[in-house]
Amino acid sequence: MRPRRSAYLTGEWSARHPAGLRPGGRFLSRGRVAVGALHWLGWIIVSPRSVVSGGVTRELETLGVGALRLVGSASILVGLIATFQVAYQLKQYGAESVSALAIGWFGTREVGPLVVALLVVTRSASAIAGEFAAMTSNGEIDALRAMSLDPVKYLVAPKLAALCIALPALTIIADGLITLGGWLGTTFFLGFNSRFYLEQIRTSLAMSDLAIGVAKSILFAFVIAIIASDEGLGVDRRVAAIGEAASRAVVYCLLGVLAADTLINAIFYFIPALVL
């Protein structure tokens, strides 16, 4: 199935002005990339055997599978840190034993998706921006445009699709490993038994927490893919621009992820009915 073609969404205008300008500045440029990428993401979903589906598999391997070791080891450490920190705070009230409750709830809702997003930003945002900036510098982006091949369709949409699959999957894995880290801390260092810890986790954890964490991770995937891609595609044809784009991508992606998380938390706080 081929989607209806729109002059605005496809080809030249979804990425950049043909003259290499970014009319409307950074904000509008990100908006154009975002709209184009969402359009082509929809196309990938309805047409999974499309020309760019091979790109999604390739990106999934790089952006998702490649991040497993980092996310896995960091999540266990985060579980341990959270246990010590929460237990330390609760100790003064004699409530050290309920630290597992906080880990179960806060870990899946907040720490899991946020830690995974920040790790993926540090690992992949600079790589995405650097790759696109190098392609711009080598003339590969111009070559795509000269064949009327939309860089957003062929380059950005596969990365967005891969991140939208990889981040939720990594978040679920991270949730499990944070819980494992919490168990290590609670049983080996705080001296509680495993049955008690698991009971506390079971009491505190609801499927809705997991769902909120996964939903957040999809939003973070979108923020990372769009900002990093736009930084990479928006550079001049200078070799020095590659490093600059990579640095900017990390900074803006970190801020973007934190801003999105703040917004979600504010919404949940001010509209309590949304808290499941």
Partner: protein, 258 residues
């Protein structure tokens, strides 16, 4: 200076026709360019580095917004001052481009590089596109496995793959930016021979943008000398060799001095 636009050719014979092209919009680097290339002919745009050759080529495929001028490829007129998606697609389906340094996509295989324009513009199936890509590569003398990556080929091989990709849609016009830059003399000669054989077979017009004087001693029917973003001389090699202009003299007599 001979006017290039006064030829009495019919539009179907014209691979490229450019009138009064200046750009890019806002800060022009090329000024009042007129070009005419017929099918089966080769035009050499010769000029020193930073003379505006690549900028001119970028305008011809709509990668830059022009300030003034018109471009017609294969009889289809395009307004380069107001590039629109539909016009750009028509223009680019008729003009193949080989960028300086090949500009192949390094993360996909050689075959996938050649398949891309076929999948996008011809809406071919994957199997059809793969067969067509193999055929195109064979025409330029390249034989590869499904998984061969561009980086596994040498510079000359990559240039040939880029040529196959540029010819994928069977364009009536081929634009080549520094096509033999960085190749040794034998590889450059072989590339020229392949190009000439393909032109004879498919009858497309060629515009070569280069600072390499060796192209002036090749099959170019006409040479336009570009300096400071303007065409300062136009003619055959023999007529230009008679010129006393220091830029032309410097460019064309360099080979003799060497």
């Amino acid at each position: 200076m001979q006017s290039s636009t006064s030829s009495p050719l019919s539009s179907s014979e014209r691979a490229l026709e450019v009138h009064h092209l200046s750009g890019p919009s806002g800060s022009p680097l090329i000024f009042d360019i007129d070009l005419l290339v017929s099918r089966g002919e080769t035009l050499l745009v010769l000029g020193p580095i930073q003379s505006g050759k690549s900028m001119l080529m970028r305008h011809l495929v709509g990668l830059e917004c022009a300030e003034t001028g018109t471009i017609a490829v294969d009889g289809h007129t395009f307004d380069p001052t107001k590039p629109d998606e539909k016009g750009l697609r028509k223009l680019r389906a008729r003009a193949g481009v080989l960028f300086e340094g090949s500009a192949l996509l390094r993360r996909i295989s050689v075959l996938e590089n050649v398949e891309l324009p076929l999948l996008e513009h011809r809406h071919s199936s994957r199997a059809q596109a793969r067969d067509a890509a193999r055929e195109l590569l064979a025409e330029v003398g390249i034989e590869v496995d499904d998984s061969t990556m561009p980086v596994e080929l040498g510079r000359a091989g990559q240039r040939r793959v880029a040529l196959a990709r540029a010819l994928a849609l069977r364009p009536h016009l081929l634009l080549l930016d520094e096509p033999t830059l960085g190749l040794d003399s034998q590889a450059a000669h072989n590339f020229d021979e392949t190009l000439h054989a393909l032109q004879t077979r498919y009858n497309f017009g060629i515009v070569i943008f280069s600072h390499e004087i060796r192209h002036a001693y090749g099959p170019a029917n006409e040479i336009d000398v570009l300096a400071g973003g303007r065409i300062v001389a136009r003619g055959t090699r023999e007529s230009l060799l008679q010129s006393d202009d220091p830029v032309i003299h410097g460019l064309l007599h360099r080979r003799e001095r060497e």
